[in-house]
Symmetry: C2
Subunit: 239 residues, 2 copies
């Protein structure tokens, strides 16, 4: 196996972002994430307070998705949503890049937006005297981008000092989800100080391991539990 069981667990950002998720479903997902010690639990902004209460003890961080999934909000609104989420207890902010701006060659606008969100998060961390760093991840929706655009997104993300670049929202059928090729491209085009998060359509242990092999540091998935169970079965079979 390319990673140990605990390494796999620590790479997983367990996720429940669908619009119809109820408070009961979100609560259950948080309990599971805590029990299994996933890296983070990603919930919609409307459930951040709840997740922060449920995950107040334990090692699992609270994450949320900002400007999600289209990334076409106004920059000010994205910053507001990030700050509001941090105030409510979010420790990791995954935000969506403005794909249309990137496609139009408006690189300065894309950079300024990324940087504004990163700085808003840092400022709120200092203001609220939060001891750990707020992690920011920019979702580039790689499936909509050309190779050139993906590389440019990496360059801008590095300049804006985001903590991670993430492949996909998983909510755009036209874009599809994470691919091994995209994870490799991101890994090759980013310094090692910036992580790569693979997400979108990852539902099996095999897929998760493939992404880690390609260089992913985190796996975003709503199938965290199945992936861990599948790992155990695979490990047993190999013995």
């Amino acid at each position: 196996m390319i990673v140990s069981s605990s390494e796999l667990v620590k790479s997983i950002d367990h996720t429940i972002l669908k619009s119809q998720a109820t408070v009961v479903e979100v609560g259950k997902a948080c309990q599971l994430a805590k029990k299994l010690k996933f890296a983070a639990m990603f919930v919609s902004p409307c459930y951040v307070k709840l997740a922060a209460e449920l995950l107040a003890t334990g090692t699992t961080k609270v994450g949320t998705a900002v400007g999600f999934p289209l990334g076409t909000q106004h920059t000010t609104a994205k910053c507001f949503e990030a700050i509001n989420s941090i105030v409510h207890g979010a420790e990791e902010i995954d935000f969506v890049l403005n794909v249309g701006f990137l496609k139009a060659g408006r690189y300065e606008d894309v950079y300024q937006e990324m940087r504004a969100i990163v700085l808003a998060a840092k400022r709120q961390q200092l203001k609220d005297n939060i001891k750990h760093s707020i992690i920011t991840k920019v979702i580039i929706e790689a499936g909509l981008l050309t190779e050139q655009e993906k590389k440019m997104a990496c360059k801008l993300a590095e300049k804006a000092r985001v903590d991670f670049v993430k492949t996909s929202t998983g909510f755009n059928p036209e874009a599809g989800g994470a691919t091994q090729a995209d994870v490799r491209l991101l890994r090759r085009n980013l310094p090692l100080t910036i992580g790569v998060k693979a997400s979108g359509g990852i539902r099996t242990t095999e897929q998760a391991l493939m992404m880690l092999e390609a260089g992913a540091n985190r796996i975003g998935t709503s199938a965290g539990v199945q992936i861990i169970e599948g790992y155990k079965e695979l490990a047993m079979a190999k013995k």
Copy 2:
């Protein structure tokens, strides 16, 4: 024909909300909407300023989508986005209801959120001394709801005094788009002071006319131009 050509034109909310839309594509859509005199032109929040400039003359209103398409943002963030969009020139605000709250029976929360957005829009209108009313439409993502839930959404929308109830975002594959049955249900369960907007997957003249026949007052579509051209052909054929 159930409506005249000019009635059809006036029912259309022309729409370009996909994440990869560039400034050039949005600009072109606005010019077409203005030329054809559509009711409104819907653009993402990041393009509201541009649309407001391009549509400053003419009869076509500027619309935008708030909390779109998941509706799972925090209420405060939805209100902020609505206000920010109005400041930038939006005259119509289509916002997405929190489906998970509705499904969990949190009717008071659903109502309070709708009401907060409606009031935020009204307050900003007065503050900026805007002469016409800011129109609010709540998108209920009908394809995810039971009949009971759709009826409850109508009841809450009436209480919150939104101007329209809208069937779908068109961005959720699981939910699908507008159906004649949903438009009829909304029409039957709302007072005539509240409009019905059919949207999601409406790409042909036949579909648009079917929705109007079922009681829709507005048609949200990215195929506004094709629909008008198709109408002319249909009208010619009937002569």
